[in-house]
């Protein structure tokens, strides 16, 4: 009896030390799940998810089980990718509102050169100096809309990116054959 208790206790101590040691020895720096989530996100830093950027949202999804359908610029593709990555049901949080991709444009006649939008832009896509007309580098703009609010004269507008022959995509076929799984129950019922 005593031997058994001692043996189990000794075993527990050895295991405990081993676990404690390996927790220190093999500790993973950072948050690998958040890193993977961040790699999926479109990096517009738009804060439309309610977090101040892509990284904070990725951390919230990783740690606090935040909903995966909050990334507006990423749309359905990012939601599906996150569902795949995290093993969650893509339909759990409902659909996602997709917006057409846009770039910001500054109205040359209205801009007063206040530099407020320069500070707001997360990717430095706005050029300008105090009391000089500002301009947006369209190729760098991620369409995050963060520059709209700070503008005191509301001279920044979002312009949808037009589809050209070079960026056009073949549409997903419209006529969808019914899924075999959908037809099976009917067949059974009949």
């Amino acid at each position: 009896m005593l031997i058994a208790i001692l043996a189990i206790a000794a075993l527990a101590v050895v295991m405990g030390v081993l676990l404690g040691y390996s927790a220190l020895r093999f500790r993973v720096e950072g948050d690998p799940v958040a890193d993977q989530i961040e790699a999926v996100l479109p990096q517009t830093q738009c804060a439309q998810c309610g977090y101040p950027g892509c990284r904070p949202y990725a951390e919230a999804v990783a740690k606090d089980d935040e909903a995966i359908n909050k990334c507006v610029p990423g749309g359905e593709a990012v939601m599906l990718a996150l569902a795949d990555l995290l093993g969650r049901d893509p339909g759990e949080a409902g659909g996602i509102v997709e917006k057409p991709k846009c770039v910001a444009v500054i109205d040359d006649n209205e801009c007063i050169g206040c530099t407020l939008c320069l500070q707001a832009c997360p990717v430095d896509a706005i050029m300008g100096a105090a009391k000089q007309l500002h301009g947006i580098i369209a190729s760098e703009c991620t369409g995050c809309e963060l520059c709209l609010k700070p503008c005191p004269v509301e001279c920044i507008h979002m312009r949808p990116i037009e589809t050209t022959v070079r960026t056009w995509k073949w549409p997903f076929p419209a006529s969808q054959p019914a899924r075999p799984t959908e037809t099976l129950p009917q067949a059974k019922a009949a």
Partner: protein, 598 residues
């Protein structure tokens, strides 16, 4: 002829996987000769008629252009220039509908023709090309805007430059024209077989290839006959072989034709140059001959206008840029019972709904189909996993798997099944008993994959820029803090170092003043120690003493206090009141001093 026949038959042919037999429908349009077309009133020349970057327009609205003049120059290596296909005036450079499955518009140069067909000065013919460097020939082919005319329109000069690590032994010339209805290559081989052979001669020299195999499907006996005659007349007949291949769609596919003729397979994601083969369309070889031997740019091509939806199907020699409507009008217009108008063949072409689109270098066929020719397949039914698509696939893919993953939008898995080896020939969809538009799924998955790749690149770029901005802000904040700290420290140190700092003043004048001040202060301090209040009224002249006395009398009269009654700090005032007479005597500064006094 009879003597040479057995030699061709002796050549062993291989077979590619799959393929389908479809009614070839060549007889609809291959009866007559190629007809010339009148010069259209308007020419619409898209700036991008090739794979690669769009060309850069070098003419302005209002410019007069001559036939064969360069109107757009290539931008980048994988690009081709665009030439005016008739003389006239540029009336617009704007977006116009172009032959593209999207039906979208793209930048075009629009020329109003003057009917004069005035040619520009063409470059010198390079008749002695065998003594020229291949690079010179490639440059000529590039300058003449030659692109692959089989449909993909890849710039020919790029394809003819396989690089030093690929030794080309065989040139394969594609005269298979496997797609139903299309007969323009058939007619080209009948009418321009000499040019095709000349082009082959140039290409053999350019590539340094040993032999040339011309693959022609056996449903084109006239073309085969004509090419054999041309070969017999040519001086390269020992290196050129005309190979008659069985009619099987899609034997005209580049990889499929190479397999049939040589038995070798182009590696997945690879190019034929990796196995020492370059494949060119017969139309391209004729265009190469035009470019090198005549200096003529690619401004015309043969186009088949066919299908039972058009009154008089035939082949036309068309100026690039001619609107499709002009061609249809020349062929007697469309019939009432038209179901759809297709650009390209029935298997790989795309439907067009705008007849204003121009004919480009790549457009080989306009097809007007009646409901009888192209019945509506009806709604797609569920896949029954019959596997016929896999049997038919000439690229040895698994169309079912591709379909499932494309449908689930699982773009990673669909690429695992080699989506990008799919040549979109349409065999799988043609044999599918459930009428599933399989090719459309693959095209969707391909374009979506490219778009995702672009987005991913953009996201990485944005992430880097965001990180750079955060880093910059942090650095600026650090610098600001450091500045603030150093200022604070400087303020603290100032009182202690003030005296020393005075010594280091480099202005000698200031230094002298400072020294004088210090001397005065030391004197004052010494006097104060002795308890003596400095008084400078002791040794005055008699006249001055009288003046002082008089002033004091005036003060008393005015009821002011005695200056001597003052003490402490006010003593200085007293001193000053006595200064004027003294300073008057000391020099030129007296005036300002007395003014101050006043």
């Amino acid at each position: 002829m009879q003597a040479t026949q057995p030699r061709f038959k002796s050549r062993q042919l291989w077979q590619f996987h799959g393929g389908i037999h479809v009614p070839d429908q060549k007889a609809v349009s291959n009866a007559g000769k190629v007809q010339p077309t009148p010069c259209p009133k308007i020419l619409i020349l898209p700036l991008q008629q090739h794979i690669g970057a769009p060309a850069n327009p070098v003419v302005k609205v209002g410019d007069r252009v001559l036939k064969g003049q360069v109107i757009a120059e290539p931008r980048g290596y994988v690009c081709a220039p665009v030439h005016a296909s008739s003389s006239g005036t540029v009336i617009a450079i704007e977006d116009r509908p172009v032959p593209h499955p999207s039906g979208l518009s793209a930048p075009c140069v629009v020329i109003e023709t003057d009917g004069q067909e005035a040619w520009v000065d063409l470059p010198e013919p390079l008749t002695d090309y065998e003594s020229l460097d291949p690079a010179v020939l490639r440059e000529r082919i590039r300058a003449c805007g030659v692109v692959g005319m089989g449909g993909a329109s890849f710039p020919t000069s790029v394809k003819l430059n396989p690089g030093k690590d690929h030794q080309i032994h065989t040139l394969v010339v594609n005269g298979a024209e496997c797609e139903p209805y299309i007969t323009c290559d058939d007619l080209l081989m009948r009418e321009r077989s000499g040019d095709v052979l000349q082009g082959i001669r140039i290409l053999l020299h350019l590539l340094g290839a040993r032999q040339c195999l011309i693959g022609i499907e056996d449903n084109k006996p006239e073309a085969i006959e004509s090419m054999r005659l041309a070969r017999a007349e040519s001086d390269i007949r020992d290196r050129v072989e005309i190979v008659v291949i069985p009619t099987l769609y899609p034997s005209g596919g580049e990889k499929q034709l190479i397999k049939v003729l040589t038995g070798r397979e182009v590696p997945s994601h690879g190019i034929p140059a990796q196995i020492g083969v370059v494949c060119q369309n017969v139309g391209t070889t004729a265009a190469v001959a035009d470019a090198v031997l005549r200096g003529r740019p690619l401004i015309e091509r043969y186009v088949t206008v066919t299908g039972r939806g058009v009154a008089k199907p035939c082949n036309l020699n068309v100026r690039v840029g001619t609107p499709a409507a002009d061609l249809i009008a020349q062929c007697g217009g469309l019939r009432r019972n038209l179901r759809k108008l297709v650009c390209g063949g029935p298997m790989m072409g795309f439907e067009i709904d705008n007849q204003a689109i121009p004919i480009t270098k790549a457009a080989n066929c306009l097809l007007a189909l009646t409901p009888a020719e192209s019945p509506d397949p009806g709604p797609a039914l569920p896949c029954i996993r019959c596997g016929r698509c896999a049997d038919a696939c000439p690229a040895s893919l698994l169309p079912q798997q591709l379909y499932w993953y494309a449908r689930a939008k699982d773009l990673d898995r669909v690429q695992d099944y080699n989506l990008f080896d799919c040549i979109e020939c349409g065999c799988c969809a043609h044999v599918c008993p459930s009428h599933i538009p399989l090719v459309q799924y693959y095209r969707y998955a391909k374009t979506e994959s490219w778009a995702r790749e672009q987005e991913k690149k953009k996201a990485d770029h944005a992430k880097a820029r965001h990180a750079a901005k955060l880093e910059r802000q942090e650095r600026q904040e650090r610098e600001r803090q450091a500045k603030l700290r150093s200022r604070k420290e400087a303020a603290k140190e100032k009182p202690a170092t003030q005296g020393q700092a005075a010594h280091v003043v480099d202005d000698p004048k200031k230094a002298a003043i400072e020294a004088a001040r210090q001397r005065a202060a030391a004197k004052k301090a010494a006097l104060a120690e002795e308890g003596v209040i400095p008084k400078n009224t002791e040794d005055l002249a008699a006249a001055q003493q009288q003046q002082v006395a008089a002033a004091q009398a005036r003060r008393r009269a005015a009821g002011l206090r005695e200056p001597e009654a003052k003490a402490g700090p006010e003593a200085r005032d007293t001193d000053q009141t006595h200064q004027p007479p003294q300073t008057k005597a000391t020099g030129p500064k007296a005036e300002t001093a007395s003014e101050e006094q006043a």
